[in-house]
């Protein structure tokens, strides 16, 4: 897969002295869904805003399809659609006028048929003559998406798209994101909800305090960093872990009915066979066995905390 957005050594220090980004390097692949994960104030919005031309970088370069975002801004911005985090819309324009305005701003000729289809897809068609101030929060979010897509971008940035959004809209949105992605649109979304990244993204980048801690395939990431746990249910509860099992660092549940063994699934010897043998030797009778893998959330918390 070739990369469509290249970010090199990108830093941003705001005029107040706040370092929002420190030397971020990132390649975004064409056609992927990349989730940028990080707590509030991590620098996600700053990163997106620089690529879209709303904030200027302190140092570093960004190219989109090999065009510099500053020198060739007309070319790069044409390829990009942005759905901002805040519900930043005018008040007195109608839905129809505002999407036409957006399309025109990007230098595209009017195309009522395309915009009609777009509004229908976003369940906005029957609201097309409503003024923006009359719309609910969810509807405003849909309008922002319609505006971002009005000029048929190749790359779509969604900044915290599901903040304050109900279940229905969230599902609609993910359906739309997948469909766009299938049609070849590269999608970059920021979120602080880990389930979201886990659910939809191909790759996940983790940002904290302006640093891009890592970017990896979601699967690889979970494999690489994900410890597995073996849950052992016991036939009879135990008061304490019997002698001879110290080497396994077992944790017992409060009621003494369950033991948990944490291991790394990728090493040669996981220690499971030895553990089962030892359990047998000390006379513990097993009822059930179960393994579980740590979620992205646990990986995330671990990464953010270790820094």
């Amino acid at each position: 897969m070739s990369s469509i957005v290249n970010i090199k050594g990108l830093s941003k220090v705001y005029s107040g002295g706040h370092q929002a980004l420190s030397t971020v390097d990132l390649d975004i692949n064409e056609g992927e869904i990349l989730a940028l994960l990080g707590p509030n104030g991590a620098g996600k919005t700053t990163l997106i805003s620089i690529i879209c031309g709303i904030v200027s970088a302190s140092s570093g370069t960004v190219t989109v399809a090999e065009h510099d975002i500053i020198n060739d801004y007309r070319i790069t911005r044409n390829m990009i659609g942005l759905v901002p985090q805040e519900l930043t819309l005018g008040a007195f324009d109608t839905v129809w006028n505002t999407v036409n305005f957006s399309r025109g701003l990007f230098g595209k000729k009017a195309n009522p048929a395309y915009l009609e289809q777009l509004l229908k897809e976003l369940s906005l068609w029957d609201k097309k003559d409503n003024e923006l101030r009359q719309l609910s929060g969810g509807m405003k979010r849909r309008v922002l998406i319609a505006k971002a897509l009005s000029h048929e971008p190749r790359i779509l940035f969604l900044d915290e798209p599901t903040a304050g959004v109900d279940v229905e809209l969230r599902q609609d949105m993910w359906k739309m994101v997948r469909r766009l992605n299938e049609s070849g649109v590269t999608i970059i979304l920021t979120t602080h909800y880990i389930e979201e990244a886990e659910e939809i993204a191909d790759r996940v980048g983790i940002i904290n305090q302006g640093e891009l801690l890592l970017v990896d395939d979601k699967q690889c990431l979970m494999q690489k960093l994900g410890k597995k746990q073996l849950l052992i249910e016991l036939k009879q509860s135990i008061d304490k872990i019997p002698a001879g099992l110290e080497a396994f660092n077992l944790e017992s549940s409060a009621d003494g009915n369950q033991l948990t063994y944490t291991y790394d699934p990728d090493v040669e010897r996981t220690g499971i066979t030895a553990l089962l043998k030892s359990l047998n030797e000390v006379g513990i009778v097993l009822k059930d066995l179960q393994t579980s893998q740590s979620s992205l959330e646990e990986i995330f918390v671990r990464l953010v905390n270790t820094r």
Partner: protein, 254 residues
């Protein structure tokens, strides 16, 4: 390559905004102009002698037009760019493939067009009250157009600069209105004591009104050439200021 579509949609959007606030944009200046005519023209004006051969009611017409033109150009253009900044929807203009030049042409062009229409309406209204003879129609239109453009630009600068509604009103209220009133809208500078005449020469609006009035009656406080030069200078200063603001991303880009 120029993004004509973008200029077109911004211009159209701004013109449409006036359409929605038709009462405020058109009716209010027409009503206030009529009021000025009733008060200064008919009531007070009838007791004032002619100024350099022109009856007072007629004499104040150019000043009245300028008064509305200046305030409306500024408020229109400043609000046009301030409101998207206020709601945050400016992000879209910032992230669109559009240059500062195109943004200015769109917003300022629309504001200037609206003022131009307004100026014409006021002149037509004035014509209902008094008989207007325009000595130099071409020069009059030139002054009208230059004033609309340069003060729309100035309003645009205020709109960019303002961070809240109070600041938006500040300069029009504290600077422009006094300058217009003291710039000879309602009197000839010759009517002032000599000391004040000198002070008035530092008021840029004087040159505008004087030049504009000359195009009607061939009566002026300062020569037309100086008037034209002054308005061009003001236009240039505004252009440089806007260019600098976009270049540095002042109040727009962090």
């Amino acid at each position: 390559m120029i993004n004509y579509q973008a200029i077109r949609v911004i211009y159209k959007y701004e013109m449409l905004r006036a359409w929605h606030t038709l009462l405020q944009t058109i009716a209010s200046p027409v009503i206030s102009t009529s009021l000025y005519f009733v008060v200064f023209g008919a009531a007070i004006g009838s007791r004032i002698e002619e100024i350099e051969g022109v009856s007072y009611a007629v004499f104040i017409v150019p000043g009245l037009v300028m008064l509305s033109l200046l305030t409306q150009s500024i408020s229109n253009a400043s609000f046009g760019i301030f409101f998207p900044k206020f709601t945050g929807s400016i992000y879209e203009v910032m992230s669109a493939p559009i240059s500062f030049f195109e943004i200015v042409v769109g917003y300022v062009g629309a504001a200037a067009s609206k003022s131009l229409i307004l100026g014409t309406i006021i002149l037509l209204t004035a014509n209902l009250f008094v008989d207007l003879n325009i000595a130099h129609p071409f020069v009059m239109v030139l002054f009208l157009v230059l004033t609309c453009i340069s003060f729309a630009l100035f309003g645009f600068i205020i709109g960019l600069w303002a961070t809240n509604f109070e600041k938006l009103q500040l300069i029009p209220m504290l600077v422009i209105t006094p300058l217009v009133f003291l710039g000879g809208s309602f009197y000839s500078v010759n009517m002032l004591p000599p000391a004040w005449q000198t002070v008035t020469l530092f008021n840029p609006v004087l040159y505008l009104i004087s030049g504009f009035r000359w195009s009607f009656f061939e009566v002026a406080d300062v020569s037309v050439g100086v008037s034209l030069a002054m308005i061009c200078l003001f236009l240039l200063v505004c252009l440089v200021l806007v260019w600098w603001m976009f270049k540095t991303g002042y109040r727009l880009k962090q």
